[in-house]
């Protein structure tokens, strides 16, 4: 019980840090540190397997983020030939500008100091706020503000689509498994095959043409922020949500069906039937519970990958989110932006993995004590 309370406090602090990050100019990095320490204390005080497990995963996630930051640093600053300042300076490489960039990126100092300031900015923030991700000399704006402007679009896109595909995919999968070898099953799996096979760029354009252009049911492409009207926001997002969700829904339906069918052959399902439980309880409580763990795993990975990887959907619907930002940064040689997106995406993957590991442990007690 103690650890759950302390964990709650840690999560609150973490949430506070994230909100502070979005709202403000002030470096709030120390809130993260307090959160980690709170979790550590909670784990040691309670001695609970679950708390220790979460702590282990947390430390691991921090290690992963560090490694990713280091590799990113190497790839963008050290590995290529030539002067990094020249690559980062943007469209006007005057001698004065290059000198300024060289100074700001600490390129005039030894390797270890250069890296130290790179990490320090990321962890504690720079003059543009937290996390410090540098300055885009091509766009004359801090990378942090670029990402904060683009991130909500991608996050809303993923969140809505994920909700749709998770609910839809699992429901179709269960239905398909229960009605195995019937018309329902074949229909659902046919739909799944269509969903997996249909390319997003084709499906997206077809949806835009039919539902927006011909029927006028939605608001078409582009993005409308949620604070400018929920209706507008929803009208713009419903098509990209559906198109993105369809692909994943198809995959999840197939995985759910196959997992559930496999689980229903297990001995403990026979035990559940032997107890005299209704078929509904047998399938939805005993069967689905065991089938969900692999789905949680791939769900976490899919979410994380989409943070930087929903580029096609973003392009088709002109949403201009993180994927678009990274793509634009790459083709316009705006390296600071690319570095920022890479680090943010990698951190998102690490956090998503952490969350998946924790959910996994809640779902499967064997993991907790391993």
């Amino acid at each position: 019980m103690i650890y759950i309370g302390a964990l709650g406090i840690a999560l609150l602090l973490l949430g506070g840090a994230i909100i502070a990050t979005f709202s403000g100019a002030h470096p709030w990095w120390w809130v993260w540190v307090i959160g980690v320490i709170a979790a550590l204390v909670a784990a040691l005080v309670s001695g609970s397997g679950m708390a220790l497990y979460i702590l282990r995963r947390l430390v691991w996630a921090i290690v992963v983020v560090n490694v990713v930051v280091f590799i990113t640093f190497l790839v963008f600053f050290k590995l290529p030939n030539g002067d990094p300042a020249l690559r980062f300076v943007g469209k006007f490489p005057t001698a004065e500008n290059i000198a300024l960039v060289r100074h700001r990126l600490h390129l005039d100092q030894p390797f270890y100091k250069e890296y130290f300031f790179f990490v320090k900015n990321f962890v504690t923030g720079d003059e543009n706020g937290w996390p410090g991700l540098g300055y885009s000399y091509g766009n004359y704006v801090s990378v942090r503000s670029e990402i904060l402007q683009r991130a909500p679009r991608t996050l809303w896109l993923i969140a809505g689509a994920a909700t749709m595909w998770l609910i839809g995919g699992v429901a179709i999968g269960v239905l398909s498994a229960v009605k195995r070898r019937t018309v329902v099953d074949r229909g659902a799996m046919g739909f799944a095959l269509f969903g997996i096979s249909a390319p997003v760029f084709w499906l997206g354009l077809m949806a835009l043409y039919l539902i927006w252009k011909q029927l006028g049911l939605t608001d078409g492409s582009g993005y409308s922020p949620i604070d400018q009207g929920v209706g507008q926001w929803f009208g713009h997002l419903i098509l990209p949500w559906s198109v993105l969700a369809l692909l994943y829904m198809a995959i999840y339906a197939r995985i759910t069906r196959n997992n559930l069918l496999e689980t229903l052959g297990e001995d403990y399902i026979r035990t559940a039937r032997a107890k005299g439980l209704s078929e509904r309880t047998v399938i939805l409580k005993h069967g689905l519970r065991a089938s969900l763990t692999p789905i949680v795993t791939i769900f976490g990975l899919d979410m994380a990958l989409l943070v930087g990887g929903a580029i096609i959907t973003e392009s088709v619907f002109n949403i201009q989110g993180l994927g678009w930002l990274a793509y634009n940064g790459a083709i316009t040689q705006d390296l600071p932006t690319v570095v920022g997106v890479v680090i943010c995406t990698a951190t998102a993957v690490a956090i998503a993995n952490l969350v998946v590991d924790i959910i996994y442990a809640f779902l499967d007690p064997r993991v907790r004590f391993a």
Binding site: D267, L277, R289, R366
Partner: protein, 347 residues
């Protein structure tokens, strides 16, 4: 035809001419053929046979756990006079776990790995009883204690992987007992366990039979277990009863060559390994059972009618039921002169 004269105890389960056929892609598997037996309160029917002899299928048929879409079941399974085979799925569900309970071979796979042991047993309580979760849980703890789990209240909060194999089988037994069932089917309950634990579980089932006053069907391939705990014994081969009688009748005068073979191949502490006599060959395919007696290809005592005519299960004068063409005198002679010295042999 299977009356052993013990009129005092009531017949709980009366299986008559049970046949189970599986329709598969390769053809029809005759898993159980024309099987009849009874189970009474306070008795243990030991069902013995090799793997694939139809023991487990019989028990699953009684529990109504066979997939009826791909299985043809004929005959009658009378439980207190009602034919379980005629019940609708939902009526059968109410019998399962309340009137007839079952424990399975592999306790490692039979408990759901993601729910606490106590919760799984409490769920069995709630399946047939409208009580609060708290009451169900206390019943679960009570039964865990009754089957010999120490600190039951605390261990009920454990997950199955924190239990040893023997403890899991105890938990399965506790789960089967929550509604004081009339019939307990134990399908090879000790096969997956360590030898030292096996004896404890066998003993527990025997105690449970007395304390809860149930009729037990003990399915096993271990004749030693059967000789110690069963009141009646049915020897099965290729889905059929080969021999059926009381414990004393079987172990003091087995009449069927297959039973003889099982007895000869049974290891004891005294016997050395090279004295064990395995039954040569392997059980027949149930897709294409041999004509005549199903055991004749492996039988040392076969003679001319055995491969053409299937011997019916019949009582010999002064003996019990068996399905063999050998004349009664010959059976007695072989038993007394060949088998008894063999199984008693101290080597």
């Amino acid at each position: 035809m299977t009356d052993f004269g013990a009129g005092a105890s009531s017949t709980l389960l009366d299986v008559r001419n049970l046949s189970v056929r599986f329709r598969t892609r390769d053809g029809i598997v005759q898993a159980v053929s024309d099987l009849s037996f009874t189970v009474r309160r306070g008795e243990t029917l030991g069902v013995v046979g090799e793997s694939g002899s139809g023991k487990s299928v019989t028990s699953l048929a009684i529990m109504g756990l066979l997939n009826r879409e791909r299985t043809d079941i004929t005959g009658e399974i009378l439980f207190e006079g009602n034919d379980l085979l005629k019940l609708k799925p939902d009526e059968m569900r109410r019998v399962r776990g309340r009137d007839v309970s079952m424990i399975f071979q592999d306790p490692f796979a039979c408990l759901h790995p993601m729910y606490r042991v106590g919760d799984q047993i409490a769920e069995a309580v709630l399946a047939h009883q409208k009580v609060s979760k708290k009451v169900a849980m206390s019943r679960a703890v009570e039964l865990l204690g009754a089957v010999g789990i120490p600190n039951a209240a605390i261990r009920a909060r454990d997950y199955p992987h924190q239990f040893s194999g023997g403890m899991r089988q105890r938990a399965m037994i506790a789960m089967a007992l929550v509604h004081n069932p009339d019939v307990l089917i134990a399908d090879e309950p000790t096969t997956a366990l360590d030898v030292t634990v096996q004896a404890q579980i066998v003993e527990l089932i025997d105690r449970v039979k007395r304390d809860f006053d149930v009729g037990v069907i003990l399915i096993t391939h271990d004749l030693g277990v059967v000789s110690e705990t069963a009141t009646h014994v049915m020897v099965m081969y290729a889905g059929r009863a080969m021999e059926y009688g009381s414990n004393a009748e079987i172990f003091a005068g087995a009449q069927h060559p297959y039973t003889w073979g099982l007895l000869e191949s049974m290891p004891t502490v005294e016997k050395k390994l090279d004295v064990l006599m395995p039954i040569e060959g392997s059980p027949p395919s149930l897709l294409h059972p041999p004509p005549g007696c199903p055991f004749h290809p492996r039988c040392k005592y076969r003679f001319e009618p055995c491969d053409k005519l299937r011997p019916p299960l019949a009582e010999i004068p002064g003996g019990h039921l068996d399905a063999c063409h050998l004349p009664p005198e010959r059976k007695r002679e072989v038993w007394a002169n060949r088998i008894v010295p063999e199984i008693a042999a101290p080597a």
